[in-house]
Amino acid sequence: MSFDWNEDDEDFFAGASFKPRTIEEDFAIPDDFANLGGAAIIPQDVVEETPFQQLIRHWMNERHAPDILPAQEMLLGRLLDHIRKQTDDVQLLRADPDSSEEEHFRITLVQTEIERVKFVIRSYIRTRLHKVEKFARHISATPELHDRLSKAELDHAKRYARLEETHYTSAVLQGLPPDQQSLDDNIAFMPPMVTAPSKTRAVFAHARQDCPPVRLPDGSTLEMTKGQISLTPYHVVEQLLAREEVELV
């Protein structure tokens, strides 16, 4: 994984202190309460999300989407790097016997935040791992999905699929007649043997901006306006989600 820190960032993390960031980095956190009226339509790029808020959004998308979504490797890398640096600073300051009481209480706050971020990262990765294992054979048989997985996830999916097949073969299948030994039969009126994500499962989509029209299963079109929440099958909003125009809630 590569991290593209610019020099300002390096400066900022160099000293063992929680110095404030430069203005450019000090992202304003979108304040939900400010939009209470619902009338103010703010273009998406004005309300900038912090990396952690982006991760929370991807975490929720991943939790709600039936399919596996593209891995957010850059974002994870940035946050992990940030956690590492904050942790190092905490340890340095802890070791310093001269630090004041105020310093101690800042350390506690910083540590609390580190734990919150770690929790979300862990849950995000576990959600993906769950999908990787559940769809292991589908993933290793579908090259189009490989771009969505990180290298470690893809390796794991392939190994897991192989393990599963070897196990089935040695435990049961080798004792069956040859025409019943395969693991990927597609028999009419029977569920397929390879577990694939069900894209017809409904999801709650929340429009982050005005969205272009999409086709609904009943033939009509749906044009979501900013802030609209709709319950609709996953395949309807799949493209909107890929372009980050909607989020799942």
């Binding site: 929680f18 992202f27 912090t50 706050l109 919150r116 099958p233």
Partner: protein, 186 residues
């Protein structure tokens, strides 16, 4: 397993609370603190008695150590909620409330009830609003079809509550609609 079965279909209320606690809220600090860099940005400096905006998780952390007072958000007061309740019980549609109002209200009333004028009244109003809205979302189940259901002004906690049933219902309806075509394999 990577993800416990209870977490596979939906998120849990504590997870929603964690997300809601990233929002900012005003506090009146009782201790001073320099401007400090956090992963989600820099907060502070805290200079009592000047008001300052910090994330809710930080506000609750400080509040539990009796190091700040929390300034209630605009919508978390008896007048506003009374107005919403009237609206909720007299109009057929959902009234407008902040998307994560249930989580925020719960967290704040749990740790900082002494910063509110009438916490008991607030709790009972919130409960009434939630019940009125719950009744409406249950009615919404009758409008569900296989393609789309728009849910204006529904809040995160309410979506989470209706999620399992609504997703299942829509799944069954799509199967019913799809069946006639699928029955003619060539």
């Amino acid at each position: 397993m990577a993800l416990p079965p209870s977490l596979r279909l939906s998120v849990t209320p504590p997870e929603l609370e964690l997300i809601a606690c990233e929002q900012l809220i005003e506090i009146i600090p009782l201790v001073a603190m320099e401007r400090t860099a956090f992963i989600s940005g820099a907060f502070g400096p805290l200079r009592p008695p000047a008001k300052c905006k910090v994330p809710i998780w930080m506000a609750t952390n400080l509040k539990l150590k009796k190091k700040c007072h929390i300034v209630p958000p605009d919508w978390l007061n008896v007048d506003f909620l009374q107005d919403r309740l009237t609206h909720e019980t007299s109009q057929p549609e959902f009234s407008q409330l902040p998307f994560r109002f249930a989580e925020v209200a719960k967290v704040l009333l749990d740790v900082a009830s002494d910063d509110f004028e009438n916490p008991e009244r607030l709790r009972s109003l919130l409960k009434d609003i939630q019940e009125a809205r719950q009744a409406k979302s249950r009615e919404g189940l009758s409008k569900i079809d296989h393609s789309e259901l728009s849910l204006p002004n529904l809040c995160s906690m309410e979506i989470n509550e209706i999620r399992p049933v609504f997703i299942k219902a829509m799944g069954v309806l799509s199967q019913l609609v799809r069946e006639p075509e699928g029955r003619l394999p060539t």
